[in-house]
Homo-oligomer: 191 residues x 2
């Protein structure tokens, strides 16, 4: 078998094959054998770089999102959060990322290494950006000084992930706009 060129080209071919097969047959049925065959690569080539199917799948998935989840900063925190959350649900709520990401989070319920890698490489960087953007807005007087910005990621992402993973109802801009308004309003009585 003629393998694709070494280096970036081969890595990309393997990740592309992973995503294609993942969409076609689902994560559960995906095998390193099938990925190797589709990519025209040897199994040993894959195992040299990725210790497990989960690790290869995570890398392949993250190659799809690039940096479209970087926070905008127009100076208007509500508008910027809205832009950010809309971008997040456009990614989560649609193929190819959505169904593949759903499978990855499913796998993270069984495999602690996948859960750790998901957090280190995807969730934690987003949380850091979210807290930094909100901290700046709070310093500029655009947020309640009493709001604990260190919780921003769980409070903003929680309702999206709950809908995505648990109720599995459609993630729409209208839904997340309502959530954002509710989070800004707060549950407590205005003092």
């Amino acid at each position: 078998m003629t393998e694709p060129p070494r280096g970036v080209g081969r890595t990309e071919a393997i990740m592309r094959a992973t995503l294609e097969l993942g969409q076609e047959i689902g994560y559960a049925k995906l095998s390193i054998e099938a990925i190797a065959a589709r990519a025209g690569a040897g199994k040993h080539t894959i195992y040299r770089r990725w210790p497990s199917k989960g690790a290869l799948f995570l890398d392949s998935l993250l190659s799809l999102h690039k940096s479209d989840l970087d926070y905008p900063d127009t100076g208007d925190i509500f508008a910027d959060l809205r832009t950010q959350v809309h971008a997040a649900i456009d990614l989560l709520g649609n193929p190819p990322f959505g169904p593949l990401y759903r499978a990855l989070v499913g796998e993270a319920q069984y495999d602690p290494q996948i859960a750790a890698a998901l957090n280190d490489r995807f969730i934690a960087p987003q949380a850091d950006m979210t807290v930094a953007r909100l901290k700046k807005a709070q310093d500029q007087g655009q947020l309640s000084p009493a709001f604990d910005v260190s919780l921003a990621m769980v409070i903003l992402s929680g309702p999206l992930y709950f809908q995505f993973l648990v109720t599995q109802e459609p993630l729409t801009h209208e839904y997340v706009d309502r959530v954002l308004h509710a989070l800004f309003t707060g549950m407590g009585k205005p003092s």
Copy 2:
């Protein structure tokens, strides 16, 4: 093979075997064969009642929680929510319910029937109780009149599930107290 008595006794024996084996070997490796053997029941007896491993697992799991997630109503909404959320994380964050429930939600990412059953039988009733309790508190002037109580379930549960399923950090009373305070405070500037 002598099967356990028909009816409730046999159903309970099968569900108990499911939970025991689920804890011992994990959901992924669980099989109807092994459950039947442990319960001393025939496979056909199990399949007559449950169409799939997932359906049996869901029933078995829900038999653990009974009604300990019913909302208290002392007249103080913050205290009642705190009691409720503490009960929820004590259930989610500990064996036997926690790890088995994690596996079920993982399975719901692959199996739409499990996802639908989870919502119909566990999530939707909680959401209804949550909205009803908050609506009453709002009518009594204990919550912001501007807060959209129809979103109460996703906003309150989202941060718990995000921690449970995604970051997989420990669910502590201290954490959920901070979340509750942040949700009551709201992100927006006091008007």
